[in-house]
């Protein structure tokens, strides 16, 4: 208590420059900065003659993209929370998720599409099979590489480099097994846009992606807040040494974290594949927005990562109204830089952390 009193006394005596910095680093200021950027994007789009219904459609797609990015970034942020290293191979898990679903669909019998969706019952079944399998891949990588490094008390830089190496390795596996060509879950099958109010053009598949992402998030919330293992994950992310002291087997918690992170990445990858196509680099290109979302939400905070992902998804899509879509990653990058400059601990990080 005496320490916080001292801190308060120091605050009162701050110079103007420090006071300005203190204001700039607040959560409110970061929110204002993000909203301002968004308004600028919309204004630019309107200036270029983009109609309101097109903007609304883009925003709806952005929410869907946010769901995909969010599923990936939750795993990233959970792993960071528990193991404290940026896992650059997380993108490869996203790719694996999409390709495993693709492989399972080839193995399952063909099914008639459930109109207006473009896919039949085999797609969700393949997804459900793919999720735990990618979780196991993530766990296997941990057992072979990261656990070994943990036992040697390796430096965090070494973890990051090892994960980068694993990213390239796993991507090579994709190339070897499935080749460099694009794949589609359903080649040549049309999925026309639905007729919605305000002339918003959204495909049924996109609505499915969004609903599934929301359902998975709800399940995740229940897992983290209500179950023993979920609470242990949050506790381990908060303070691994104390978790051990309280009787939590942190190695087991780490294993569950990989399983969960891998499964969520698989869901994200499969949905990304459904919304566009399967490419060996698909996860690698999602890595930047996933990191940006995790950082924006306060790294280690899964709910923050979801909010960050929605902001990035919507901003990205709305920017395509007037920018070439290939500049999309730049939007995520700009947002990440703004957060790192203004408030490195993110929207939901601790004050002064």
């Amino acid at each position: 208590m005496s320490m916080s009193d001292e801190a308060a006394a120091v605050t009162r005596q701050r110079r103007p420059a420090e006071r300005i910095r203190a204001v700039v680093q607040t959560r409110a200021f970061l929110l204002v900065a993000v909203v301002a950027l968004f308004i600028v994007l919309v204004a630019l789009a309107i200036h270029q003659g983009v109609g309101a219904s097109r903007l609304l459609s883009l925003a709806a797609w952005g929410v869907m993209l946010g769901g995909i990015i969010g599923l990936g970034s939750i795993g990233l942020t959970l792993v960071y929370g528990v193991l404290k290293f940026p896992n650059f191979s997380h993108g490869a898990l996203v790719t694996f998720g999409a390709y495993f679903t693709y492989a399972f669909m080839a193995w399952l019998p063909e099914s008639a599409p459930l109109r207006p969706l473009s896919f039949g019952w085999t797609f969700p079944v393949a997804l459900v099979l793919s999720m735990p399998l990618v979780g196991l891949v993530a766990l296997a990588v941990d057992r072979v590489v990261y656990r070994r490094l943990r036992r040697q008390n390796a430096h965090l830089v070494l973890f990051a480099m090892a994960s980068l190496a694993m990213a390239f390795f796993l991507r090579s596996v994709i190339y070897i097994v499935w080749g460099p060509d694009f794949h589609f879950f359903f080649p040549g099958r049309a999925n026309p846009a639905l007729e919605l109010p305000f002339n918003i053009r959204v495909r049924a598949d996109q609505v499915f992606i969004l609903l599934l992402a929301l359902a998975i998030m709800a399940g995740l919330y229940v897992l983290l807040e209500r179950t023993r293992i979920g609470k242990a994950m949050r506790a381990t992310a908060d303070n691994p040494e104390l978790a051990q002291v309280r009787g939590i087997n942190t190695e087991r918690v780490i294993a569950w974290t990989w399983l969960l992170g891998g499964a969520l990445a698989a869901a994200g990858g499969t949905m990304y594949g459904l919304s566009s196509q399967l490419r060996p680099e698909m996860g690698f290109w999602l890595l930047l927005p996933m990191f940006a979302a995790a950082i924006m939400g306060g790294i280690g905070n899964p709910y923050g990562a979801l909010v960050g992902a929605l902001v990035i998804g919507v901003t990205h899509q709305v920017s395509t109204a007037f920018l070439d879509p290939t500049y999309g990653p730049a939007v995520a990058f700009v947002l990440m830089v703004i957060v790192l400059l203004v408030r490195p601990q993110g929207l939901f990080g601790r004050e002064g952390g």
């Binding site: 992310a237 040494e241 002291v245 009787g247 601790r350």
Partner: protein, 235 residues
């Protein structure tokens, strides 16, 4: 038979050796105080007993079971809990969740009853149970930390500087709480800066300096020892 018996313990971090041939004993229901100057190795000894630092040599027995070299999450099961000096609560979790993590090894049905007992000991925690531990004051955090450590009904509680950074009024409150906890039959091993106060309360004490045992005896003996008073109790 003592509850805890450490003999010939040598331990350290990396190339640095911090403890050399240290011994320590805690009996059932005893309060034992560990004092000594900064850097004497008091906290390291606590961590070594609890498996956070593995001893290079020596034996640590709890109720006749060798625990040297075992992991903290494993040692907890034997009936010993530890409250670290810093970062001793999960700041992102609520008070109630902190207690639940303290009782992580309990069955679901035992959990509610134990929480109730801790809330009876610290009624303030019941009022604040939905609050995040990180938003609490130093004194309240210390209660959360001690409360979590009591969830498993340990036979021995290790407290590392429980009064560090607290105002004099809160220090008295913490010491009073330790006395109350001890009165229920729990043995307490504590490291304290407030050496005089902790020796007044303790049955026995050990003076550690330079990573080695220096003096030991009953609380009163150490308080009245002129050398101990001059060197470690500030005159």
């Amino acid at each position: 038979m003592p509850l805890l018996k450490a003999e010939g313990v040598t331990a350290g971090y990396g190339d640095t050796e911090i403890l050399r041939d240290v011994h320590l004993e805690v009996g059932e229901g005893e309060i034992v105080s560990l004092i000594g100057p900064n850097g004497a190795g008091k906290s390291t000894l606590m961590k070594t007993v609890f498996g956070l630092v593995h001893p290079r040599q020596g034996s640590i027995r709890f109720r006749d079971t060798e625990i040297a070299g075992r992991s903290p999450y494993d040692i907890v099961k034997e009936g010993m809990c530890y409250v670290p000096q810093v970062a001793n609560v999960f700041v992102q979790l609520t008070v109630e969740e902190n207690l639940e993590m303290g009782g992580y090894l309990l069955e679901e049905r035992e959990l509610a009853g134990r929480k109730e007992q801790v809330y009876e000991l610290f009624p303030k925690l019941r009022e604040r149970r939905r609050q995040r531990a990180g938003k609490m004051s130093g004194g309240e955090r210390q209660m959360v930390a001690i409360g979590s450590a009591l969830m498993l009904e340990p036979a021995l509680l290790l407290l590392d500087e429980p009064s560090a950074g607290l105002s004099p009024k809160l220090v008295d409150e913490i010491f009073e709480n330790i006395r109350r906890i001890n009165a229920t039959g729990l043995a307490v091993l504590m490291v304290e800066q407030n050496a005089r106060k902790s020796l007044e309360m303790a049955e026995r004490g050990y003076v550690l300096a330079g990573g080695q045992n220096r003096v030991e005896g009953s609380g009163a003996e150490l308080l009245n020892d002129p050398d101990v008073a001059r060197l470690y109790l500030g005159g």
